[in-house]
């Protein structure tokens, strides 16, 4: 691993809070690690667990999800739904041998540019420490469609846990 | 305790009438307008030699800290170049304030630490009002002897040159009729900012 190892973080940011916070960080010229690749979604509730699995399969070293603080969701409680899925998925990924630091969910409001910077820097540092993701065999041949079928029932079961 | 007392300024250190008196002196009426921007201190060619910058003098003067401003060397170092006055954004007659403070210091009998300028002004005033004109030779010799005796001899060469070029003489200059000026001065009411005047 070269000294200049830059982990790649796939970041799912909700449009109203965290994406705006990232805009604010930019406007405020806050400097942070160039590790994130942002995918904008309207709500963190839109984030399908498969997106996260896909990200790991396609080479992400970590996945960061940013949503509105609980109670602040632009769509009432999409973020809470995201949280439920996240908890389960994180447990599942740990079972698959992916370190828990590689997937992170943060509530970052539109005014928290500074928090966004801190989170990205902290996560980048964690990932540098962990090194590149050594993808577990179970995921190596991941294909969205295949996995969808395989895990569908499982995920369904998980996400409907009250 | 004594040192502590000096650090704090109490209301009893203020003369509440002082600022009003200064403001009644010619050119000083805008004293209170000061916003402490310190253009005066920045532009003053002599402020680096002053124990208080002109800005601070203005602040203390308008708050009535009479003893502080009458004892500072700032007012005596002011060379009356009026740079501060013309650049003041609030059109405060800062040079005029310095004049007023000098008069007040003299009125209060204050002998400044840096005595030379006051001595020169006094010599000048005495000569000027006595003879109606200034005899530069006498003024310079008197002032130098009184304020910088050591320098007297080092100025010997300059003195000789001035004598040789005819720019310096021992003759005492006088108005042909001094009495009229004396009468005029005597008949002039003081301008001291006191309300009665």
């Amino acid at each position: 691993m070269p000294d200049t190892y830059q982990p790649r973080i796939l970041a799912f940011f909700c449009n109203w809070c965290t994406y705006t916070a990232a805009d604010l960080a930019g406007v405020s010229r806050m400097k942070y690690a160039p590790t994130t690749r942002v995918v904008r979604v309207m709500c963190s509730g839109r984030i399908d667990p498969q997106f996260i699995l896909s990200a790991f399969a396609k080479g992400a070293d970590g996945v960061l999800i940013g949503g509105c603080h609980p109670g602040d969701c632009h769509y009432l409680e999409g973020n809470v739904k995201c949280l439920r899925r996240f908890r389960i998925l994180q447990r599942m990924l740990v079972d698959l041998g992916i370190e828990p630091e590689r997937i992170r969910l943060e509530w970052i409001s539109a005014s928290e540019g500074g928090k966004l910077k801190e989170v990205i820097n902290a996560m980048s540092a964690d990932l540098v420490r962990l090194g590149p993701l050594n993808l577990p065999d179970a995921l190596r041949s991941f294909d969205a469609e295949v996995l969808k079928e395989e895990t569908e029932a499982e995920v369904q079961e998980l996400v409907t846990i009250p | 305790m004594a040192t502590l007392e000096r650090e704090i300024r109490f209301e009893s250190d203020r003369d509440p009438e002082f600022a009003a008196q200064i403001r009644r002196m010619p050119g000083c009426e805008n004293l209170n307008r000061c916003i402490q921007c310190a253009t005066c201190s920045g532009i003053c060619p002599l402020s680096t030699y002053m124990d208080m910058t002109p800005r601070r003098v203005i602040q203390l003067a308008r708050d009535g800290f009479k003893a502080d401003v009458l004892n500072c060397n700032t007012i005596w170092l002011c060379a009356s170049c009026y740079q501060c006055q013309v650049e003041c954004p609030k059109e405060i007659g800062i040079t005029d304030v310095m004049y007023a403070l000098k008069c007040k210091a003299i009125e209060a009998g204050i002998k400044p630490k840096q005595a030379a300028p006051q001595t020169l002004y006094r010599e000048f005033y005495n000569l000027g009002t006595k003879n109606g004109r200034i005899s530069e030779g006498a003024l310079m010799v008197n002032t130098v002897i009184k304020t910088q005796p050591a320098r007297f001899w080092s100025l010997k060469m300059l003195g000789l040159r001035l004598l040789r070029t005819g720019r310096f003489g021992w003759k005492i200059e006088r108005m042909p009729q001094q009495s009229v000026l004396k009468a005029a001065i005597q008949a002039t009411p003081p301008i001291n900012g006191k309300e009665s005047s």
Partner: protein
């Protein structure tokens, strides 16, 4: 909502990639030419260009021309945040002759150059982002915006000067306004003031005509003593519930004659008079002030002997010749439908007790600026007489600026109005008492028309200005002349001395802070707060009265500290924004709604439980889910939850996102 001329999969994808220098904003940290060159190698990219300012007319024309010349059918613009220019480039795309939603923006400025330290990594990151954009745009399909009718009425929340101004502007433009105010009267803080700076206009003289106009305007429904308790819906179509608290007065009958107040079995006040900030007591039945609008009394059930279950002579009832008192009244909930909402809920003042070393609450002669406002008012509790609590007229007054403001321990911000308000009070206190006035300030902030001139006037009038944050207000005398005074200790940073100034009265210029329930109100209307807790505008410069929620606007101090002129101007701006929304009669909705692919739907109803808007119903006959596009707001939660992959979301469809994920990660 896929339109008829939707993307034909067989059609060849021809992508144009455009990267903006944004002057040096992007180009200084990202090698735009190199990114453009890289993008050219991506599959489907037909043309790739960099340009100084893509958002300029010339930049847009470049897109328009290239679409025509290269038969482009997808556009990727790598530039600033889509919040700024997505509309610009979609419009340009449309001008080029293709559907605007075939354009996608990649944010390499806010998320790229501006947060980057190193040019090489920033350029690599931009390439990855570009590849992600190119990857997803291949999947884009043509979409149409849909139109929704807009209701021609507006809810204004808060009846201070901001709400009053906004309501009158809208009402005069012919829109129906519901003005909801929590207190028994409108008027807000301005009604409590004596004079307004810097002109010293009498606050009541300029405010009360506006208040009466609100009270009598045919287009305004005024609900004072009421609160919004629920709001739902979307731009142009909000449904709002308003709780109208019981006044125990028949509003139609009450003429505001105050006979009931006179005859209340309590002969004197029993509880702190809120309007007079506790300087006097009021009775349980009261009117805030004589010019109150609506001019109706109110009974406070907590202190009223009858309502609180105690013994009472009920002498108020016969005193009213119109039998307006109604002790059986209960609160009502009104439901209204409005097209837009203006939030003008105001501020509260900093609680001076949070700065204990200023002695508020400990020393009787330490007052807040609001208390002094009431005291100097001729219609106030002392009829304009300024006296200390022991009845003495103060000979010296110290006004402490920035109380609670510019302080990391309390409120970090400058409250913006206190300097001028303090100068005004200094003027009024001097006028009323002839006292020596000392202002203790950190910086003197007088940014407004005639403000600096007012400051200069006070300087010239001999008010003392001591630059330094007051350290403490104490009654510990160090000198005989300090006995029986409050001593203000401060360093005058301008004279360079620590000073002790003994005064008879201390006025604390308390700062402006968000209302205590701002976080409740913001959730009610689905808007955000900035760090300090004031409501967050959509853009600090270019959309200062809009919020992230379409159709919800801000006016006045709820958005941040401001003075009356700025508040009135902002209220006008909020009204104008609401008018601009209402006037066309319809609103165009973004097409990013979800829809069901009927063949895949198993009818499991999982999605139904997910939808926060009840937009999904079950077609019992076909046993499939049906999404009502009018109700769908496009969050995509149902899409993520569908076990069959039967729900799609326009612009955020699975395949678009999978491709974006894959491509954004493909560039190492």
């Amino acid at each position: 909502m896929v339109s008829d001329n939707s993307h034909n999969p067989a059609e060849e994808v021809r992508i144009g990639f455009f990267i903006c220098h944004c002057g040096v904003n992007i180009a200084s940290k990202i090698d735009v030419a190199e990114v453009a060159k890289f993008a050219e190698t991506l599959p489907g990219v037909v043309v790739s260009r960099d340009y100084k300012y893509m958002c300029s007319d010339a930049g847009q024309d470049l897109i328009v021309e290239d679409i025509k010349n290269f038969r482009l059918n997808r556009i990727v613009v790598a530039a600033c945040s889509p919040f700024l220019h997505e509309k610009t480039f979609r419009t340009a795309t449309q001008r080029g002759g293709i559907n605007p939603f075939l354009c996608h923006m990649v944010n390499i400025r806010e998320h790229g150059s501006w947060v980057a330290e190193d040019r090489v990594t920033a350029t690599e990151k931009a390439k990855a982002m570009a590849q992600g954009g190119v990857g997803r745009v291949r999947r884009h399909v043509a979409l149409e915006k849909r139109r929704e009718p807009v209701l021609q009425s507006v809810l204004v929340v808060g009846g201070g000067i901001a709400g009053i101004q906004a309501a009158l502007t809208l009402a005069n433009a012919g829109k129906h306004v519901y003005l909801v105010e929590r207190e028994p009267t409108i008027g807000g803080h301005m009604a409590q003031f004596d004079k307004t700076f810097p002109t010293l206009d009498c606050a009541a003289c300029i405010l009360t005509p506006k208040m009466s106009e609100v009270g009598s305007h045919p287009n305004i429904t005024l609900w004072a003593y009421s609160e919004v308790i629920h709001s739902e819906g979307y731009v142009g179509n909000y449904k709002v519930k308003v709780r109208r608290k019981a006044r125990y007065i028949n509003e139609d009958e009450c003429t505001g004659c105050m006979e009931c107040v006179e005859h209340c079995s309590f002969k004197t006040g029993v509880v702190d008079d809120e309007f007079n900030v506790g300087l006097v007591k009021r009775k349980p039945v009261y009117m805030s002030f004589p010019q109150a609008v609506p001019k109706i009394v109110v009974i406070d059930p907590l202190t009223c002997a009858k309502l609180s279950g105690g013994k009472c002579e009920e002498s108020c009832i016969p005193a009213c010749d119109r039998q307006a008192l109604d002790f059986t009244q209960t609160e009502r909930v009104e439901e209204i439908e409005v097209g837009a909402i203006i939030v003008a809920t105001g501020f509260k003042t900093f609680d001076a007790k949070r700065k204990p070393y200023y002695g508020y609450g400990d020393f009787p002669n330490v007052y807040t600026s609001l208390e002094i406002e009431r005291m100097v008012t001729s219609s106030g509790p002392t009829e304009g007489e300024v006296v200390c609590r022991d009845g003495r007229v103060p000979k010296s007054v110290g006004i402490v600026h920035c109380v609670g403001s510019r302080d990391h321990q309390t409120n970090r911000w400058c409250s913006r109005v206190c300097c001028m308000a303090s100068l005004k009070l200094a003027y009024l206190l001097k006028e009323h008492t002839g006292a020596e006035i000392y202002n203790f300030y950190i910086d003197m902030r007088t940014p407004g028309k005639g403000y600096e001139e007012f400051y200069e006037r006070l300087l010239e009038e001999g008010n003392h200005f001591i630059r330094g944050r007051v350290a403490e207000v104490t009654d510990f005398a160090m000198r005989p002349e300090e006995e029986n005074h409050l001593i203000i200790q401060v360093e005058d940073t301008l004279s360079g001395y620590v000073r002790r100034v003994p005064v008879d009265m201390v006025v604390l210029a308390v700062g402006i802070e968000p209302q205590a329930d701002a976080s409740v109100v913001r959730r009610l209307f689905n808007i955000s707060c900035s760090d300090e807790g004031f409501f967050l505008e959509r853009h600090p410069k270019l959309a200062p009265v809009s919020t992230a929620t379409e159709g919800v606007y801000l006016a006045g101090c709820c958005q941040g500290p401001r003075d009356i002129p700025d508040t009135v101007a902002q209220a006008g701006a909020a009204a104008a924004e609401a008018l601009a929304l209402l006037d066309p009669g319809f609103v165009e909705m973004e097409p990013m709604t979800a829809y069901v692919e009927n063949e895949l739907c198993s009818g499991c109803k999982t999605c139904q439980t997910m939808c926060p808007y009840g937009a999904i119903s079950n077609d019992a006959e076909r046993k499939i889910a049906v999404i009502n596009p009018m109700l769908c707001k496009g969050c995509g939660t149902c899409v993520a939850s569908c076990p069959s992959g039967a729900i799609h979301q326009n612009l955020f469809d699975d395949q678009e996102l999978f491709d974006e994920i894959q491509e954004v990660l493909a560039h190492a």
